[in-house]
Symmetry: C2
Subunit: 370 residues, 2 copies
């Protein structure tokens, strides 16, 4: 993809930000944007939202304000986002990733929103289209692991039913993401299953295992084999691939369990005067623990497989968390994630004997402009 936007020069990444998205809108997104700009002296932000809501950002350096008159609410049906609210901040922010009809470069390298996930995916897919070789985009996020690193998990809810070919595509996209954002060459991929043995799981999973083993033999993927739920936190592999239903349940189970355990810890330490004194003694340790499992540190899920880079922040993100999503988006764009995903997909899927149909675009530069 020779798009003029695929390679930001010298960290001069341009991010479009849906400032109205999420549970708190500009009261969270604007402070996050301000902190992000201060920390990234070459970055440029395109802030999208209602003019009056973004007035505070007027005059900020390296910052453009683009007005959008509507807001996609967190509980708006996808149809409303797609067909009714055509001037929503979500849609206008995404459209910054599209090149102009006259072939002009797109305005932004990457888009960030904390809005309604379903709406974001649907509008992104409609506006940007998918990359060649990708049937369905996927959502990828990271979870902390015992190796003091992160495990990237996808898909997290974009696709409830997946074919073996989709799971292979997720593996390829996840590999490209990890090598681009974390700088890891040849990251390992695990297939989420209910046992390590190749005979375990549904027919879909077994077939996906075959496709992944084939891809690994061709040298295109570093496929580890089947992994189980606990391997996500062990950090057995860099990437864990699953269908969106399973991934969503695993993510929400993990988030829920962390919240419950944090509640238990608070309860136990506030039972009586002695436990409260113990809490005081243990405070630095508890804070350090809290930082380590703080979900705000892992905020920023990648929507992969689109002809444009989109990152989704948690809807309930505060400014610290939203800045985390901006950072992840920035790193992805700076490291040419879009190109990498596209190249790896072509390489891997073309080499597969599975009849997966991959058309090389006649003009690779069309990718961003589509």
């Amino acid at each position: 993809m020779n798009s003029p936007l695929a390679h930001p020069v010298n960290d001069a990444v341009r991010l479009s930000v849906d400032c109205m998205g999420g549970d708190f809108g500009p009261s969270v997104t604007l402070p996050a944007c301000k902190a992000f700009l201060a920390a990234h002296p070459k970055a440029h932000l395109i802030l999208v939202g209602k003019a009056e809501a973004l007035a505070a950002a007027a005059g900020w350096e390296r910052c453009t304000i683009v007005a959008a008159s509507e807001v996609v609410e967190m509980d708006d049906p996808i149809e409303v986002a797609l067909r009714k609210k055509k001037d929503s901040s979500l849609r206008v922010a995404l459209s910054q990733l599209k090149a102009g009809a006259d072939g002009q470069p797109a305005s932004a390298h990457v888009c960030v929103s904390a809005g309604n996930t379903g709406a974001l995916m649907a509008v992104a897919r409609y506006l940007l289209k998918t990359l060649d070789g990708i049937d369905r985009p996927a959502i990828a996020t990271v979870m902390p692991n015992e190796r003091d690193g992160f495990t990237t998990v996808l898909d997290l809810g974009a696709n409830v039913d997946c074919s073996p070919e989709h799971l292979l595509q997720f593996a390829v996209m996840g590999s490209a993401l990890v090598s681009a954002v974390e700088g890891k060459e040849n990251p390992s991929v695990g297939l989420l299953n209910i046992g390590e043995e190749v005979i375990k799981g549904s027919e879909t999973i077994k077939k996906a295992g075959e496709l992944l083993r084939n891809a690994a033999q061709g040298g295109h993927l570093n496929f580890y084999g089947n992994v189980e739920g606990n391997d996500i936190f062990k950090g057995t592999t860099d990437i864990v691939v699953c269908d969106g239903f399973v991934g969503n349940v695993a993510l929400k189970t993990a988030e829920g369990l962390i919240a419950t355990l944090v509640g238990f810890i608070k309860q136990e330490f506030s039972r009586n005067i002695f436990t409260k004194m113990a809490a005081l003694a243990a405070l630095p340790v508890l804070n350090s623990l809290k930082r380590r499992i703080d979900p705000r540190r892992f905020n920023g899920a990648a929507l992969l497989g689109l002809r444009g880079l989109v990152f989704k922040s948690h809807g309930s993100a505060d400014a610290f968390a939203f800045e985390g999503a901006l950072n992840r988006a920035y790193d992805a764009a700076r490291n040419c994630l879009l190109d990498r995903v596209h190249d790896l997909i072509l390489e891997t899927l073309e080499a597969m004997p599975t009849g997966v149909d991959v058309d090389e675009p006649t003009n690779p530069g069309d990718a961003l402009a589509a």
Copy 2:
């Protein structure tokens, strides 16, 4: 089911125990059995295993030893357990649940094993058969929740692909389990999904939601609606129903996360002399917390839907955990779980307009004897 064994008299439950199962065999199961007998003065145990391995139990009160010459190993394929090792402790323990060919009552009300899950389910299904109205047995376990109670989750891996009817059957069996073991009338059921709205999820899940709503309207089930992964720990519903693939991933994700967090807590408290002193101060609190999330307290998964009560202990259980599984099995038998499951199934499924085929057995007493 008028089986003479369905109603133990005065807590005089007879449990058959596969003493060779699990990672540690008799070194764990025998001490657990001894402690269990001391705590339950009316219970009777049938200890099954190699004669020499069970020699230590000779002469124990309220205890019968039944010899079995073989052992199903944790990594034995199901076929080996089913077709080769016909005198395995696992199989002999299960066969204690069967009435004699001459119509004599079965020896045990409930069977407990820490053996290979796949083998246990397969042999149990072969020997005992399923209850009328149940296509597939399911595995149910409990997880601690924020309400200081437990959430019962099923299926946990017996069935990788489930139809909507299977999920309905799981809901019925889970309801019977919770009312029998926890004494809760009309426990609530949630359908595990990727969102609360009825339009979410795969076609199978949407159809299952319909069946569950119908059953609730008929007054047979207390169906709450869709729940998400985090609701397991919130305790939103008493029971969470899902297919075995999703349930297995959720359970292992939760187990893995708890192990990881416990590791993080240990690391943080052992960083240096100050954190170690803090750990000392916080020790009573940490122990109380540990007790609360100790997976050994929740040991003992029920194999539901069979014509006999079977409980599965974790393979890695120690004596404390294995005794927990014995306790759960004892409570289930004492509270006539088998009868309750059977009655609730007939009631619910017969009233369903879905064409689910349920044959009332000509002689209900056959159930245990089948």
